[in-house]
């Protein structure tokens, strides 16, 4: 005896739902990161030397990797957000699946650009 089946992943493996998950997940992680980001930047109040000292903390590879991830998250959230704004405020043209594909490419491009410029 078990409980009746519920809505599961099989009804959610479509592009629009995937876009929603990416947007929500990236938004959540960004929201958690932003206060830390501001805290870091506020170290500038210590003046150039103090700020530089705090910045050298971020030379650790784990921070560099985190920065790369965050740039990608930002790109994903931006692109997904514009898609939502188009759906909610723009003329109706479906679930904007072409836009989703573009967003994925944009996020990849941002990730690659970051790697290119950072090195």
């Amino acid at each position: 005896m078990s409980s009746r089946p519920k809505l599961d992943y099989r009804a959610k493996t479509h592009l629009s739902y995937f876009a929603y998950v990416c947007h929500r997940f990236s938004g959540l992680l960004l929201a958690c990161f932003i206060p830390l980001h501001f805290l870091m930047l506020a170290q500038s109040l210590r003046g150039v030397e103090g700020f530089q000292k705090s910045l050298t903390l971020t030379d650790l590879w784990v921070f560099k990797f985190g920065e790369w991830v965050l740039v990608i998250l930002l790109a994903v959230h931006l692109a997904g957000g514009i898609r939502l704004l188009m759906i909610e405020f723009g003329p109706w043209k479906g679930l904007r699946k072409g836009w989703i594909q573009l967003s994925i490419l944009f996020a990849i491009a941002c990730g690659l650009l970051f790697l290119y410029f950072a090195n």
Binding site: A42, S44, L45, Q52
Partner: protein
């Protein structure tokens, strides 16, 4: 009916505020990404950052607008996620407010910081 209606009006206003702030952020984030790509070339030092931001009123205004837009946008999104993930508890409002305060205070401090470079 009265209370349900004011709750409805609140939800509608929060939705509106989040979308308007999203439009502002869309612009700010696009510009910020461009700045990031420009700035990280050849590494990033405090000297370079402050060299661009210290005394720069335009940057300060731009980033404060950015902070205010985040202050509106992120907590509403966070509240929605919490409300839906933990519908039976009441963590959504308090956590959203804490996030809002953190963003506003730390964000404005950061803007003041990079504008003054510590020379207040």
């Amino acid at each position: 009916m009265g209370q349900a209606m004011s709750e409805g009006v609140l939800q509608a206003k929060l939705w509106y505020a989040q979308r308007i702030s999203a439009m502002v952020l869309g612009l700010c984030v696009a510009i910020h990404l461009a700045i990031i790509f420009y700035a990280i070339r050849g590494g990033l030092t405090a000297q370079e950052i402050l060299g661009r931001t210290q005394g720069n009123v335009l940057f300060a205004i731009f980033y404060e607008i950015f902070v205010l837009a985040c202050f509106v946008h992120a907590p509403i999104g966070m509240a929605n996620i919490l409300q839906e993930t933990f519908p039976k508890s009441s963590v959504a409002r308090p956590i959203a407010w804490i996030l809002a305060l953190l963003i506003l205070i730390l964000g404005t401090t950061a803007v003041v910081g990079v504008f003054t470079g510590g020379q207040i």
